[in-house]
């Protein structure tokens, strides 16, 4: 394998990691903090793409501004979703799943009815890099950089801000945290908003790379779900990074040799095998290891 082939493979690997990270991070944060799976996640991504597309074509705003609008818009929508729907299901995770699935249907079918089967696409910035006969899309490298930035930003919020400390406390012991005077409801609301905003960002960022149709969310959710399952909700940051790195490492060679379908099936099989032995995902296992080193047990 020549150096160029290697570079190409690395590029695909980074591209895949970026896709998994951006698709899954918002969902994972919500799972980790609020303990709920938002099945409308794919439709939030779709909303992000739609907002960018509409702002670009109808309001003629520059692309970055459109994307910013997506982030804000979907973030606000996510908060409304938490406030009016998800909040009622905190005792029953599975019911929350079903309710958000209903929302997902409403959003995708509603988009179909209101805006038609497709929207004009957003142009992809033509930054191409050439190397030894391969051409690489610079935009997708940018996406990788943004994915990294998103992870770093998330880490910074969790570990370097007061809000983050309160959020982590809520994750570990909600009752105790409430007893200390923290408004956990507010934390759930803002976290849901942040996770949704990330979904909106993903939709906005990938809008130039794909067709804008009401069911476009599905191409993100199947990898997002697998990433979340393998990563686990115990620690969203570690879970997202480890899971994305591992899964991209599986799917990149598989899909480049045997095609995208085998790549996807390979991910599902990998997920099944991993959860058989690490039922709480990679971050759950990592957390158990940490606690074994730290924990005291009183009889």
């Amino acid at each position: 394998m020549s150096l160029a082939d290697l570079v190409s493979l690395v590029y695909q690997y980074l591209d895949n990691i970026a896709f998994l990270l951006l698709a899954a991070l918002g969902l994972m944060i919500i799972l980790g903090v609020v303990n709920v799976i938002n099945l409308a996640h794919g439709e939030l991504i779709m909303l992000g793409a739609y907002i960018t597309t509409i702002a670009y074509h109808d309001a003629n705003l520059p692309l970055p501004v459109c994307m910013l609008l997506s982030v804000l818009g979907v973030g606000l929508f996510g908060m409304a979703l938490e406030r009016f729907v998800v909040r009622r299901f905190y005792g029953d995770r599975l019911a929350a799943l079903v309710a958000t699935w209903g929302v997902s249907l409403i959003l995708s079918q509603g988009a179909l009815l209101a805006l038609g089967p497709s929207m004009p696409s957003v142009p992809l910035p033509a930054w191409t890099l050439h190397y030894e006969g391969y051409s690489f899309g610079g935009y997708r490298l940018l996406l990788f950089a943004i994915a990294l930035a998103a992870i770093i930003a998330t880490w910074w919020v969790f570990y370097r801000t007061k809000f983050g400390i309160r959020t982590r406390a809520t994750m570990q012991n909600p009752d105790m945290t409430r007893a200390l005077g923290v408004d956990t409801r507010n934390i759930y609301l803002l976290t849901f908003g942040a996770g949704s905003a990330l979904a909106g960002l993903t939709g906005a960022l990938y809008a130039p790379t794909t067709t804008i149709v009401p069911l476009m969310g599905t191409q993100f959710v199947d990898v997002a779900f697998i990433t979340v399952v393998v990563g686990g909700g115990a620690n969203p940051i570690i879970g997202a990074i480890a899971s994305a790195a591992l899964l991209a490492g599986i799917s990149t060679p598989l899909s480049s040799i045997l095609g995208t379908f085998i790549g996807r099936i390979g991910l599902l099989i990998a997920a099944l095998v991993i959860i058989r032995f690490l039922p709480r995902g990679i971050s759950g296992y990592w957390q158990d290891l940490r606690y074994q080193r730290m924990a005291r047990h009183s009889s």
Binding site: G102, V228, I275, R276
Partner: protein, 357 residues
């Protein structure tokens, strides 16, 4: 009820785990059954075929009621098992079209395929003792992958023997079930009777199951897994059993469907189809087999009516119905009514303890 779990059939049929007890209920039940069996005498061929179409989904719905309502496992994969059975039946029956008993072999093959996939999937999730939310997620992914895969099988190279998969357009010309002289095609009276009798058997059989000791253990697992383990039960194994049974029932519906319509396409394993059994179960009330049976028939009829008058709104309405039911009738509409007017309290069990199951 005595502690040894030995009681008469009458007692088991009238147990607490299901709606509807006493002579009044059973008289109504018998009356409806007689009416259904007598319907071919005065119903048109079209009406019979429609009714048969609504009924054939009932086993799938009841399977999910057992799995989700009684065992606490939410599955978005019932339609995948439905379609796997349908496609496999199509492949086998299409290739054995001139072989006597070929379609029966196809039924076995179709059900077997669904059961096999369910068993393998179930092994990983139940022996891994994963959290409850993982199962519906992975089943959604499975449905998506299957739908996408089958959608691109359009070329001639995508076939088994003489049967083409057909890509997005689906598999056509699937031969109906044939037993001896009888052809169970969609428009036939024979098919109508087959479906009605099977629906009845499945309902009564499940009703007996949920009221038996085994059925109580199934519910106990939903209420408190560790407790049930601590009483000596191999919970992982029992959960696979229930999961596989639900998959087999979905597969049964799938086989009946292709016999009825001689056709199946990838959309029947897709996300929208995956939603349907969940809607029937949620709207009826997953804690009662009868509620789910009624909801399945009603919603199938509704979907059919909508398809004529505004099909594009169908899934939007389904989404609204699902959300509204979860928000305002979390126990299901039929079950809520039974509670209020009949005083029936399903042993609903504790909500997911610590969210971990």
């Amino acid at each position: 009820m005595n502690l040894r779990g030995r009681r008469g059939l009458a007692h088991t049929l009238n147990g607490p785990q299901e709606l509807g007890h006493g002579p009044v209920f059973w008289v109504c039940f018998a009356a409806v059954t007689v009416a259904a069996l007598a319907y071919p005498a005065f119903g048109s061929v079209f009406a019979l075929s429609n009714l048969a179409n609504f009924c054939l989904y009932v086993p799938m719905g009841l399977g999910l009621a057992l799995l989700w309502g009684y065992n606490g496992v939410l599955s978005f994969g019932q339609s995948a098992f439905f379609a796997i059975a349908g496609y496999v039946y199509g492949v086998i029956a299409g290739n054995l079209i001139d072989v006597p008993g070929g379609s029966l072999l196809a039924v076995a093959g179709g059900l077997g395929a669904s059961v096999l996939v369910a068993a393998v999937f179930g092994y990983f999730v139940f022996y891994g003792q994963v959290s409850g939310w993982i199962i519906p997620l992975l089943l959604l992914v499975l449905s998506l992958i299957l739908e996408t895969f089958m959608g691109q099988t359009a070329g001639y190279q995508w076939r088994v023997g003489s049967v083409l998969f057909g890509g997005y357009n689906g598999m056509t010309g699937i031969p109906s079930l044939q037993i001896g002289e009888w052809d169970f095609g969609g428009a036939s009276t024979a098919f109508y009777y087959l479906v009605v009798v099977l629906t009845l058997l499945v309902y009564l059989g499940l009703r007996i199951l949920v009221n038996s000791r085994y059925g109580h253990v199934v519910t106990a697992i939903k209420d408190d897994v560790e407790r049930t383990r601590a009483l000596g039960y191999n919970v992982n194994f029992i959960q696979i059993q229930v999961f596989v049974l639900a998959a087999a029932l979905a597969g049964l519906s799938g086989v009946l469907y292709v016999s009825w319509g001689n056709y199946i396409n990838p959309a029947s394993m897709g996300l929208l189809s995956a939603t349907l059994p969940v809607i029937w179960t949620a709207v009826g009330g997953r804690r009662s087999l009868l509620a789910v049976l009624l909801a399945t028939l009603t919603l199938r009829w509704l979907a059919d009516t909508l398809a004529v008058r505004g099909g594009e709104y169908a899934f939007l309405i389904m989404g609204v119905l699902l959300l509204a039911t979860m928000l305002f009738f979390p126990e299901g509409i039929v079950v809520s009514l039974a509670r209020r007017y009949g005083g029936w309290k399903a042993p609903t069990g504790a909500m997911n303890r610590s969210g971990s199951r």
